[in-house]
């Protein structure tokens, strides 16, 4: 049984087709990175999973049940776009409202526990409207975590979080799925952060799935490259560019060689042409570059 199983899902707003025959399979225990450019249909899909907007076609199953089944929906935690808190109420009161909504016993105890998890216990008495962007995001995640959800659907949960906040979230996500039954669907544009935790990915464009893969499949697909620095960078780039087809310079000032050559061959060739390599290493492209390549139609 899969946590989420979407088949041929579609959604149109008037003439605009936001989601067009989308498939998605989220296994139990997965942290499922849902990636796509702005307006690609990620949030619309997530809203349909949560029953917030009706589907135009297709089916969504959560743990083998239809996504409209109240029993399964009661076990879904959600953070979509904004945390959904009342500005004039305190963080604690907002959390209590959701806890009561979920019918949690010992609600106060549970709320305090979750606030501690996201390091927000000190701000429990603050009015929500007075919280900073990062704090609001933490409250949103805390709201989603209430009631020990079986499935978490998070839209851009890492936005506005500081480094510590992101680390905490990574720990929380890993902790949630460790029993192998709970799952998280998370969309984010912070692909570097997502890559640190995700076990599965789906990349969508114009409401259609482009690629669905596991983290190990992504690893296999990510091409290796040689990064080097030389005593004369301009000359090195010129020489390599004359012989090899895929040479570029990255933001850190390294020359990258994507052609299938070894570091030894590359260094020797440059040395033969009067350039000394001062630093050389091999690495793999990350999710971000893979995604950009895929969007450009590359491999």
């Amino acid at each position: 049984m899969n946590a989420v199983e979407i088949r041929n899902l579609s959604k149109s707003f008037g003439k605009k087709q936001a989601v067009n025959g989308l498939d998605m399979t989220v296994p139990m225990g997965a942290i499922y990175g849902f990636i796509g450019e702005n307006g690609s249909g990620k949030s619309t899909t997530e809203k349909m999973i949560c029953g917030l907007i009706p589907c135009s076609g297709g089916s969504i199953k959560l743990y083998g049940k239809d996504h409209t089944d109240p029993s399964v929906r009661a076990r879904v935690g959600v953070l979509i776009e904004s945390p959904g808190c009342f500005p004039s109420l305190t963080v604690f009161d907002n959390m209590m409202l959701q806890a009561e909504n979920l019918g949690i016993k010992n609600a106060e105890k549970e709320v305090i526990k979750i606030l501690k998890t996201v390091r927000m216990e000190g701000a429990a008495g603050n009015k929500y409207k007075n919280c900073s962007l990062g704090m609001k995001q933490r409250v949103g995640i805390a709201m989603a975590l209430l009631g020990n959800p079986t499935l978490l659907v998070l839209d851009e949960p890492l936005n506005g979080l500081d480094a510590d906040g992101m680390r905490i979230m990574r720990e929380v996500f890993t902790d949630i799925v460790k029993d192998g039954k709970r799952s998280i669907v998370v969309s984010s544009h912070l692909l570097g952060e997502l890559q640190k935790v995700a076990t599965h990915y789906e990349i969508i464009r114009h409401g259609k799935m482009i690629r669905e893969m596991t983290a190990s499949e992504l690893d296999g697909d990510c091409r290796t490259y040689i990064a080097l620095k030389a005593d004369d960078m301009g000359k090195a780039k010129y020489i390599l560019g004359g012989k090899l087809s895929r040479v570029s310079e990255d933001e850190a000032g390294y020359i990258r060689v994507y052609d299938p050559v070894t570091p030894e061959e590359t260094a020797a060739y440059l040395y033969k042409n009067g350039v000394t390599v001062t630093e050389i290493m091999t690495d793999k492209i990350g999710l971000e570059e893979y995604y950009i390549d895929l969007m450009k139609g590359g491999k």
Partner: protein, 279 residues
């Protein structure tokens, strides 16, 4: 962690109970709720005292020289409701004026609570959508009917409290102004029936306001304007349906009408929520 794959089912009663708990908690933390109750209490006191103070004063029209004597309330119960007079029916030529008088009386009394409650219902519901709370709510609560029931009941509680507060305010205002508490041809039973009829009739108004609010979602201005417009259509009938000399028939009529409206409009509200985007 062992309960990860448990999906317990809850009965309608359990679901509505927990949702009501949340909504009542929210209502009790809402400033609008207390402001409306305060207004419902203060308005009859201020109006009764002012009108009593101005009673008997003469004003002269500078153009025609016509002298008008200001009339004040004669009884405390005038703030609660109007009494249809036989004379209005007997005198067709004066009938228009009589009806006009009755309309003004009917509008500037306790019946204002019927329109006042629309502010509460519209803001209460639009806040859910404006803050994004509706997303959290409808994700974990798939049954839209629970939401409609809970909001209607909360609106009904607020409306009923406004009526009761207005009633108390009218009594206090009357006592301060030294107005008569005499019932005349009426009896205390009529007053109780009148109040009960008004309370049950509140269900009709709240159901209309709930339907308009769930349709307008986060647009509070639209729901308030729509509710005022929609409510106004029925507003003029409140005085006739719930006069001061109400009997059990009025109570039964308003109770049945209230329930029918609540169920009928509740089903439509539920369908609107089901078929439309909730974010």
């Amino acid at each position: 962690m062992n309960d990860a794959l448990k999906f317990p089912k809850h009965s309608f009663g359990q679901r509505v109970k927990t949702m009501m708990k949340v909504d009542v908690r929210r209502m009790l933390k809402s400033k609008v709720f207390y402001i409306l109750l305060a207004v419902a209490l203060i308005i009859p006191i201020v109006m009764t005292v002012m009108m009593t103070m101005m009673a008997g004063k003469e004003s002269t029209d500078p153009q025609t020289g016509e002298v008008t004597v200001m009339e004040g309330p004669e009884s405390v119960w005038e703030s609660i409701g109007t009494l249809p007079t036989d004379e209005a029916a007997e005198k067709p030529t004066d009938g228009e004026a009589q009806m006009g008088d009755m309309d003004v009386m009917a509008m500037c009394n306790i019946n204002m609570a019927f329109m006042g409650v629309c502010v509460f219902v519209c803001l209460f519901i639009s806040d859910d959508f404006r803050s994004g709370y509706a997303k959290n709510l409808f994700t974990v609560r798939a049954k839209k009917g629970d939401y409609v029931v809970s909001k209607t009941v909360c609106g009904f509680i607020c409306g009923s409290l406004m009526l009761i507060f207005y009633f108390i305010g009218a009594l206090l205002g009357g006592a301060i102004s030294g107005l008569s508490f005499g019932l005349g041809t009426l009896n205390i039973g009529n007053i109780i029936m009148c109040m009960l009829s008004k309370i049950f009739l509140m269900l009709v108004f709240v159901s209309i306001f709930t339907l308009i609010s769930v349709s307008a979602k986060q647009k509070a201005w639209l729901s308030i304007c729509g509710s005022l417009g929609g409510g106004m259509l029925l507003f003029t009938m409140v005085g006739m349906i719930t006069p001061l000399n109400s009997t059990v028939i009025n109570v039964i009529l308003t109770l049945v009408g209230g329930l029918l409206f609540a169920v009928g409009l509740g089903v439509i509200s539920k369908t609107v929520l089901k078929k439309s985007s909730l974010v």
